[in-house]
C-alpha cells in the first residue's frame, strides 16, 4: 500500500504527466472563471483528447482541470455575484457582500485558502478510504454490482430534483439514459438493437458527442440570448488588497474549515447529491456556528465564515466523489459520471481492479488533486488582479470559439459527421430538458451505467436465476434504493403535515 502511495506520486511527477496536469490546470483555471462554461461541460469537451494518452497522463489532465474549476469559480462568484460554477453559488451570499464592502481581497484570500484546506482533506479522505473500501469491494459479485448501479441511479434521480414530480423526471431521465445505452450491438446475442439500419449506430452511441451536445449547446444558446459579456459588463479593478487577512481568517476559523471540508467530503461520497449541495450544507453549518442571533444576522451581509465554510466544502467534495466512482463505478456527480466515461475510454474498469492491479494509478489521482490545488492557489494569489479580465470578454467573441471546440471535440470521437449530428440532436434534448426543468445528470449516469448494468444483470440471471435477488447484500442495497426513493416523499409529507398543524 505504502509503495503504491509513493508510486502514485512518482507517476504524477513524470514529466509528461506533470505537463498534462499543468495544461489541465490552465484550462480548468479559465473555465472556472467563466460562468457560461461549466466544469462538467469542459470535462466532456476534453474527453476526446485523452484517446492517445496513458491513463496517468489522462487523469492528470482531466482531474487537474476539474479539481481547480471550483477554486477559480469562487473568484467570479465573489467578484461579480455571478456563480462561476453551479457549485460555487453559496459563496456569493457573504463573498459578494464582502466585495461590495471593499473587502474583495480578504474574501478571495479566505476562499482560496479554505479551498486548499478543503481539497487536501478531500484527497486525504480518498487515500484513507482505499484500504477500507478495498476488502468490501472484493466481496461484491455481479448481483451486488448491478444493484449498486441501481442505487446510484436512484440517488441521482431522486436527489437531483425536489419533490415527487422532480423525482419522476429524474427517473425518466435516468431511464432514458439506460435506454440509449442499449443502442448498438447487443453484447450477449450479437443482435443490432435500435440501430435504425445504420452502420454508425452498430457500435452504440458514443459518450462524447452525447455529453458535448447535452451540456455545451444549451449554455451556448443562453450566452447568445443574453447578448452580453459573461460577467455582464462589471468592470474589474484592483482586488488583491487584504488577501493575506483572508488567509489568516481561515486559520482563525480552522475547526469550522475542517468541519465544512468533512461535510463536503461526505456529500461527495454520497452519489447524486452533487457539489451545489455541498456548498449550501456547509453554508448552513457555518451559520449554525454563530453563538447569538446578533452574530447570526451578520451572515449574508459579509461574514467571512460564510466564505470559509462553502470554500472548503466545494473542493473537498472532489476527493469524496472519487471514492464511489473508483471503488464501485457509481459516480457521485455529473462530472464524475463524465470522468467515469474517461475510465472506459482508457480501457480501465472502476471497481476491484482499481484497488489492486491499478492501485498506483488510483493513488496518482489523490496526488493530482493535492498538487493541482496547491499550484492553482499559488497561481491565483500571483494573478489575482489580472484574473477577471476574461469575464469581460464579449459573448460574441466567445461563442464561435466555443462552438468550434464543441464540434471538433465531437467529431474526433469517431471522425464522422454523424458525431456532430448526434451532438446537435442531444443539444436539442438538453435544451428542452433545461427548459422543462428536467435534470440532465441522471441521463448521463444512465448512459454511462447502462452497459455495465446490463452485463451484470445478464450474468446474475444466467448464473443464479432469480436467486440473486435473495443475496443479503443485494437485499440491503435494494432497501437503500427504496429508502432513497421514499425519503424525499416522506420528507415532503412531513413538511406538509407540519404546515397543516401550524396553520
Amino acid at each position: 500500500m505504502a509503495d503504491a502511495f509513493v508510486q502514485g506520486l512518482l507517476l504524477v511527477l513524470q514529466w509528461k504527466a506533470f505537463v498534462f496536469m499543468l495544461l489541465g490546470i490552465g484550462v480548468g483555471f479559465w473555465v472556472g472563471l467563466l460562468p457560461g462554461l461549466g466544469g462538467a461541460t469542459t470535462l466532456a469537451l476534453m474527453l476526446p483528447f485523452i484517446y492517445n494518452m496513458q491513463p496517468v497522463e489522462a487523469f492528470a489532465f482531466l482531474l487537474g482541470m476539474h479539481s481547480v474549476v471550483a477554486t477559480t469559480g469562487d473568484i467570479t462568484s465573489i467578484l461579480f455575484g455571478v456563480p462561476g460554477e453551479a457549485t460555487t453559488a453559496a459563496i456569493i451570499l457573504d463573498g459578494h457582500a464582502m466585495a461590495k464592502k471593499g473587502e474583495a481581497g480578504r474574501a478571495l484570500g479566505a476562499a482560496l485558502a479554505s479551498s486548499l484546506v478543503g481539497a487536501l482533506i478531500g484527497a486525504g479522505a480518498l487515500a484513507l478510504a482505499i484500504p477500507i473500501v478495498r476488502p468490501l469491494v472484493l466481496t461484491f459479485g455481479s448481483p451486488e454490482l448491478f444493484m449498486l448501479a441501481i442505487v446510484g441511479l436512484a440517488f441521482i434521480a431522486s436527489l437531483s430534483a425536489q419533490g415527487a414530480r422532480g423525482m419522476l423526471r429524474g427517473f425518466l431521465a435516468g431511464g432514458l439514459g439506460l435506454f440509449l445505452a442499449m443502442v448498438g450491438q447487443d453484447p450477449q446475442a450479437g443482435i443490432g438493437r435500435f440501430t435504425l439500419d445504420t452502420l454508425y449506430l452498430w457500435q452504440g452511441l458514443d459518450l462524447v458527442p452525447v455529453l458535448v451536445g447535452l451540456f455545451a449547446l444549451p449554455e451556448i444558446i443562453d450566452l447568445v440570448v443574453r447578448g452580453t459579456s459573461i460577467a455582464g459588463g462589471v468592470p474589474p479593478g484592483r482586488i488583491s488588497h487584504g488577501a493575506l487577512e483572508g488567509v489568516k481568517d481561515v486559520f482563525r476559523n480552522f475547526w469550522l474549515t475542517i468541519r465544512c471540508a468533512l461535510i463536503g467530503t461526505f456529500v461527495g461520497i454520497t452519489p447524486g447529491l452533487g457539489g451545489a449541495v455541498a456548498q449550501w450544507m456547509a453554508y448552513g453549518h457555518a451559520t449554525q456556528s454563530a453563538r447569538s442571533p446578533e452574530e447570526r444576522s451578520r451572515f449574508g451581509a459579509g461574514d467571512v465564515r460564510g466564505v470559509v465554510g462553502p470554500g472548503a466544502a466545494c473542493n473537498s467534495k472532489e476527493g469524496g466523489a472519487l471514492i464511489p466512482t473508483i471503488a464501485f463505478g457509481v459516480p457521485g456527480s455529473t462530472s464524475m459520471a463524465i470522468l467515469l466515461g474517461g475510465f472506459f475510454l482508457l480501457g480501465l474498469v472502476p471497481g476491484p481492479d482499481m484497488l489492486t492491479k491499478h492501485l498506483p494509478i488510483t493513488f496518482s489521482l489523490v496526488w493530482t488533486i493535492v498538487l493541482a490545488n496547491i499550484i492553482t492557489v499559488a497561481a491565483c494569489f500571483l494573478l489575482l488582479n489580472r484574473l477577471t479580465a476574461l469575464t469581460a470578454v464579449p459573448g460574441h467573441l466567445l461563442v464561435p470559439v466555443i462552438l468550434v471546440l464543441v464540434f471538433i471535440g465531437s467529431y474526433t470521437s469517431n471522425s464522422s459527421y454523424a458525431d456532430i449530428l448526434v451532438t446537435i440532436i442531444f443539444g436539442a434534448v438538453g435544451y428542452f430538458m433545461v427548459m422543462a426543468g428536467w435534470p440532465r445528470a441522471p441521463l448521463v449516469l444512465g448512459l454511462v451505467l447502462g452497459k455495465i448494468a446490463e452485463n451484470y444483470l445478464y450474468i446474475s440471471v444466467a448464473r443464479y436465476d432469480a436467486a440473486w435477488l435473495a443475496r443479503p447484500v443485494v437485499l440491503v442495497l435494494l432497501a437503500i434504493a427504496i429508502g432513497v426513493i421514499c425519503y424525499p416523499v416522506f420528507q415532503a409529507w412531513r413538511a406538509r403535515a407540519r404546515s397543516h398543524a401550524h396553520g
Binding site: A161, I191, I220, L397, V404, I420, L421, M435, G437
Partner: protein, 159 residues
C-alpha cells in the same frame, strides 16, 4: 400552457414512443438480448405516461425544482425566442458548412461571419481574430495532433 410545461409534455411523449417502440421490438429477440430492454422499457413507458398525464391533468406552471443549469430570464420572451432561433441557425449553419466545405474552411468562415454579422466588429479586428482562431485550430488539431479532416462534399465534388 407554459413553454416549460409544453417542453415537459413533449419530452414525455417522445420517451413514451421510444420506450413503446423499444419494448415492442424487443419481443422478437432471444431472451439474452431482450432481458434488459424489457426490464427498462416497460417501467420507462409507465413513468413517461405518468409524467404526460400529470402534465395534462395536473397543475400548470409547476415551479422549477431541478439542481441543474437554468436559462437566464433577463430578456423579454420575444427577444429570447428570436435569439434562440438565431443561435440554432448558427449551430445548424456551422454543421452545414463543415459538411459542405470541410473543417478548415468552415472554422474560418464561422468565426469571420459571426464576428461580422452577429458581433458587428470592424474589418481589421474580424480578420485578425479569425486568423488567430484559425491558426490555433490548424496548429493544434492539424499540425500537432494530425486529426484527419475531410475536404467537404462541395469541394470533393468540385475537384
Amino acid at each position: 400552457m407554459l413553454m416549460a410545461n409544453r417542453a415537459s409534455l413533449g419530452l414525455a411523449i417522445v420517451i413514451m414512443v421510444l420506450a413503446g417502440w423499444g419494448t415492442f421490438s424487443a419481443l422478437d429477440w432471444p431472451w439474452k438480448a431482450k432481458l434488459f430492454p424489457l426490464v427498462i422499457g416497460i417501467p420507462l413507458f409507465c413513468l413517461a405516461a405518468a409524467e404526460a398525464l400529470w402534465e395534462l391533468l395536473g397543475a400548470r406552471g409547476v415551479k422549477r425544482t431541478t439542481a441543474d443549469f437554468q436559462f437566464s430570464g433577463d430578456q423579454p420572451p420575444e427577444v429570447a425566442r428570436r435569439r434562440t432561433l438565431l443561435a440554432t441557425g448558427w449551430i445548424v449553419g456551422f454543421f452545414a458548412m463543415i459538411v459542405l466545405l470541410g473543417f478548415p474552411l468552415a472554422v474560418a468562415l464561422l468565426v469571420f461571419l459571426y464576428l461580422k454579422l452577429q458581433g458587428k466588429e470592424g474589418w481589421i479586428f474580424t480578420i485578425v481574430f479569425t486568423a488567430a482562431v484559425w491558426g490555433f485550430f490548424y496548429g493544434l488539431f492539424d499540425m500537432l495532433l494530425h486529426l484527419p479532416f475531410p475536404p467537404g462534399w462541395l469541394l470533393e465534388w468540385l475537384v
